[in-house]
Homo-oligomer: 709 residues x 2
């Protein structure tokens, strides 16, 4: 590492020894030499054409509306907040429209609005709606100011040549220089933080440095305020992603984090190609983009781990940038074009031209979703995320097992959490975050109190809770110290395995989960076999929730739902938010069938002595009606020496409400029978159609081995 | 009427005096003279081509599977039930495949399977799973047997010429004649019922009569067992639809009822064109098809009134037949092609050829959804259904007010119920029926007990409940006696009105509802203004539920949701199924905002003295977990002399979860102020943006008049 550090610093020195950048405009996403080709492409290639039509429509709307630069006042979602957001988008759109059409009115708009900002910016105090976050000047948190500048500086670059030099001087002196000052001094802490807010700050400063020809700011952006490489963009690139490009906060934030990385990288590539930024750290940037896409289900939605907004998809503009640049600048393969087509948009830029052209030439291949283990941690040794997939993109089964690091403040206490998808939809789901993004009447659009009291708690996830207490007692500090470990991973078709272990979530209980996609003879779909083992020398209560989507249509054991008078299931750690609808005793084995998106999902499970199944709905202790009323069945077991939850979930049958037909409503799997279960081995048999299969899992401290015969 | 009766009988006599039908095969949906053209069309016109590919794929699957004719055993959704359903589809598909490809293997399949049926049918007793309904032989209810035969006889007609005469004799003697016997004798009651089950029976008998050349059965089918025209198909056509083609059981059943009418009509047209069946009763058949389509929202789903399955759309095969025949045989207009395109299917038939050809020639026009009043009752004097629409098919507001007759056994107690749609989705919704269609584990796939205890009850609908008691105390017999009346209807753009009155639902309370779509100055969307007036001399408790979809994001008055311990709201009439989540006192006025499908809907309302708002969720007293957990807010008012619920619902703003933007989250309407409210008049004012509007409704006993200034 010491050696590596030296190499990096030498490299950085080398770069800056050549201190004269090429100083032409525009020179970022759209470059001067390519403008003519992009103009032509906007007429020729449908994807670029429609993307430009949209940009131009927005630009036209902007130039036909009065310019409004209000004194910052409102929080997220409020009028001034939204106006300043619109302004930065307008500036960028008008910049692009100017380059493509050559019409000066667009450049004039940018000039005029920037002059208005320049006229006021220095008078604005810190934002009056500042909360816990570092405050901005234009927005309630500095982060939004950084984002604003990343967009605005691109717009400025695009119209640079069309603004009179005196106006440029005004804008630079009274807007951009004060902004650089604010970002590097007032926001010093964030600027030097290894964190995604910091990336936006660095990108804003670095890109502004390039456009304004202020190499000292570029150098700070790349190497940190001290210019020693301990912080700054290059250090972030090394440290914020794992070697496979996984971002520790999880997919939703990975998508968000990626944008400033790729935009700034493109600027670096244009101004300092000798840095070979795309190859930096073994090409981690391309890996991070690919990993972002691999962290979506086939419907385009990101796995909603940690504080995720659930309806966020790879159509998000961050990944439009990512996909366009990965394909055009980083040697991306033709399956990226599939994503670009689904995004139905390209950036009107050099990269967008290449993508739109390739799509028009019919080069698209289906996106190659893969079963993968995504290592977490900048050295790749802090657990990870296991993803198993089976089937075509049009009808894919997908299992996600989370055994990653805590993921900082947005992390949930969900060690060994499992998500399951099929048929384009969630089967076993994650609540995501408790938040109505940007809806002012819901806690100002920010995280709701229930995000902490419910969404982050262990019971909100498909993983074991011990004694109704969350992992690490829901203390981030403790959770940050430990990582689960991988026992085994296999992407072998027909028998895919992810097996993981968590030893620190509870003082005296170890958790081991082995999740398997297995294809029995004569099956169209794979079975999800899940063995969740708890190891302890002490008596405990174990709960394993299955948060399902759809409606239960069959329960094999007697269950009577509470008719009048619902009570909360517990007092703390999220249990206070659960209405208890029913409790049933199950002996030997049981199954529950759910109808979801016109398919049946039957989960069969082995029942230990005294197993109960609890049926719950989210919504208790929710005075402001902030929560969605999701549903789960919870397998609950008291045990003196740990226990194993053994289940298999079968996809079967179909309903066609239009034709009013139902087929395959009866499961073909069942007859679970335990053979052995101790620290070294779990083995059991089950039937599928006429075959009987035996599953054997052998464990050591650091590995596991799965066999099915 | 006496005169009309005579005319009908004379007409019938005339028809049958010419007792020799043209006896060629096939001669129903696909006719001998047209086979060559349809064959050609299956290669030429995409819609016909893809439809035939599907038919042929199903036919190929059938001929490559062993023929199974199991002894009838299971109820709806069970294996023998589904097998016999598949068989009739296979027989029809193979019949079509035979005609189009000319390959004998398809005809052989039909011959072989029908011989198997002929071998067994007479031995089968009444179905062992018979319930309250009239039992069938093949299925648990005779209705399914009728449907089976309607399809099978078409398949037989299609391969008739390819089956050796001896086999035909066997099939006719041992299958079709016993079936005719069963339908006309054992099912005598249904055969002579003016009811949609009867239509299927009549169509089966009539079509079989044509194909087997048994005019006496055709005559019975047309005129009833007694051949006097008091029952039978022609009487049904007169009586089952209103003069505008509305079917009293409501849209879901209208769709279902229509199929035997149109298929049999086509057969009559082929065999006895001199009857001019399409012109019969002022062309009521074409009207019924058009009305079926007008009873859908722009997403294709039928208004889920009465015992409806909610995901049923005009893609349903009944309306594929309906649309194809309406366009090709009944002079239907080019906007039907829009529906055909959305159905993405035509019947492989003479009619399907015409539709597919017209679509291929680019003749399609957008379907013309209209604001309409649909009279109910065979004379058109039994109330009706009011539908108001505004906007393009791609983003349409739609208000439905139900003031129709009870609709027999499948009717709900929902006089003056209101449904509201916008932006492709439900805003204020109807529960539909409580049923998991054909899912055996849910009460055998039939209606659940909660259909009666919940779905039919008044509180499950968006209409006023008095003293927590359903309309007519939920007694069908009483409800069948009375109809609401229309006070006024206007489809004038900018001020559309449906105003209706119900005087018999309660002994001493009259209900008057006036629902308005109004376009204020500067609005993109119309406002839904709703005035629900109750008239009484006695003190009562009035509840008006708003069953909403989406999530509440804003409430203008203090509301605290129950944190622990939920109780049912009442004991009977559906109230026992409501969990009471919160109760709030409201003075003067209030509003509630719901976020639904990325738009905001704010309902502002005037509060009378002592008004409470109750927030509820469905699910109490549901021991088998049969109900969906829908949500409502209920405006509740105690009053000595009736009261008026005055509300306006505004569509505003948008959220874009991909771009993470929110616009227009604040409503622009409000400031409700009551001016006058008595038996003769309700008037009030409200503001929209900077304008103030005054709404004045003047009532007499039989009319109302709405003005907005």
């Amino acid at each position: 590492m010491n050696y590596l550090n030296k190499v990096i610093r030498a490299l950085i020195f080398l770069c800056f020894s050549c201190s004269c950048f090429a100083q032409v405009h525009p020179n970022m996403m759209l470059t001067k030499g390519n403008v003519a080709a992009v103009r032509q492409g906007c007429q020729q290639y449908p994807l670029l054409k429609s993307s430009f039509i949209k940009v131009k429509a927005d630009a036209d709307k902007a130039i036909n509306s009065p310019i409004e630069v209000p004194v910052p006042k409102d929080g997220g979602g409020g009028p001034t907040h939204e106006q300043h957001k619109r302004n930065y988008q307008n500036i960028l759109n008008c910049g692009i429209a100017y380059q493509i059409t050559g019409e000066k009115k667009y450049a004039d708009y940018v000039r005029n609005i920037l002059l208005k900002y320049a006229d006021q910016y220095e008078k604005w105090p810190m934002h009056p709606k500042a909360k816990d976050e570092e405050p901005g000047r234009i927005f309630w948190q500095s982060l939004n100011d950084f984002v604003w500048q990343v967009h605005v500086i691109q717009g400025y670059d695009l119209v640079y040549d069309a603004i009179p030099a005196t106006d440029r001087a005004t804008i630079e002196q009274h807007l951009f220089m004060p902004i650089l000052n604010f970002f590097t001094k007032d926001c010093y802490k964030t600027f030097n933080l290894i964190h995604n807010h910091g990336t936006w700050c660095l990108a804003a400063v670095g890109m502004t440095g390039y456009v304004l020809h202020k190499p000292e700011y570029v150098e700070m952006a790349l190497k940190g305020s001290a210019k020693d490489g301990k912080t700054g963009y290059l250090a972030q690139l090394q440290q914020l992603f794992s070697p496979v490009g996984y971002y520790t906060e999880g997919p939703y934030y990975q998508r968000y984090a990626i944008l400033p990385f790729v935009i700034f990288a493109k600027a670096i590539q244009q101004y300092q190609p000798q840095m070979h930024i795309y190859n930096y750290a073994n090409g981690v940037l391309a890996k991070a983009i690919n990993t972002s896409l691999q962290l979506t289900y086939t419907n385009g939605l990101f796995f909603p781990l940690n504080d995720a907004i659930k309806d966020k998809s790879f159509e998000s503009v961050e990944l439009v940038y990512g996909v366009d640049l990965a394909y055009s600048d980083m040697g991306g393969s033709a399956d990226l074009l599939d994503i670009a087509q689904q995004q139905n948009q390209v950036i009107v830029s050099d990269a967008g031209l290449k993508v739109a052209k390739a799509v028009a030439e019919g080069k698209t291949q289906p996106f190659r979703y893969k079963s993968m283990w995504f290592r977490d941690g900048n050295k790749g040794d802090e657990g990870g995320l296991g993803v198993l997939r089976y089937g075509k993109n049009t009808d894919q089964q997908c299992v996600v097992v989370k055994a990653a690091a805590q993921g900082m403040g947005h992390g949930h206490f969900d060690r060994l959490n499992l998500l399951y998808y099929d048929h384009g939809t969630e089967v076993f789901s994650d609540y995501g975050s408790a938040r109505f993004l940007n809806i002012d009447t819901k806690s100002g659009g920010g995280y709701l109190p229930e995000n902490k009291s419910w969404a982050k708690q262990t019971v909100a996830h498909n993983t074991v809770v011990v004694d109704q207490t969350s992992h690490f007692k829901a203390k981030v500090g403790d959770a940050e110290k430990y990582y689960p470990k991988l026992l085994s991973f296999s992407d072998k078709p027909g028998l895919q395995v992810v097996s993981v272990k968590e030893e620190h979530a509870y003082k005296d209980v170890a958790l081991v989960r082995t999740s398997i996609l297995f294809k029995p003879e004569g099956a169209d779909k794979e079975l999800l076999i899940d063995v969740f083992k708890t190891l302890s020398d002490q008596p405990h209560q174990y709960d394993l929730p299955f948060w399902y989507q759809g409606h239960i249509t069959d329960i094999s054991f007697k269950t009577v739902f509470n008719s009048n008078n619902l009570q909360a299931l517990g007092k703390d750690f999220g249990y206070q938010h659960l209405w208890l609808n029913a409790v049933s005793d199950v002996t030997d084995q049981g199954y529950i069938t759910v109808l979801n998106n016109k398919r049946f999902y039957t989960t069969s499970f082995l029942a230990g002595k005294g197993m109960k199944v609890q049926f719950v709905t989210v919504g208790a202790n929710d005075p402001q009606n902030n929560l969605r009323n999701e549903k789960a069945f919870i397998l609950s077991q008291k045990a003196n020496n740990g226990c194993s939850f053994i289940s298999l979930t079968e996809t079967h049958g179909a309903t066609d409400p239009i034709a009013e037909t139902v087929v395959g409503s009866v499961k073909r799997s069942g007859n679970l029978s335990l053979i052995k279960d101790d620290k070294q081995q779990t083995s059991f048999s089950f039937a599928y159609k006429k075959h009987t299969y035996t599953v054997t899992i052998n464990y050591t401290d650091n590995t596991s081995n799965v066999q099915i015969n």
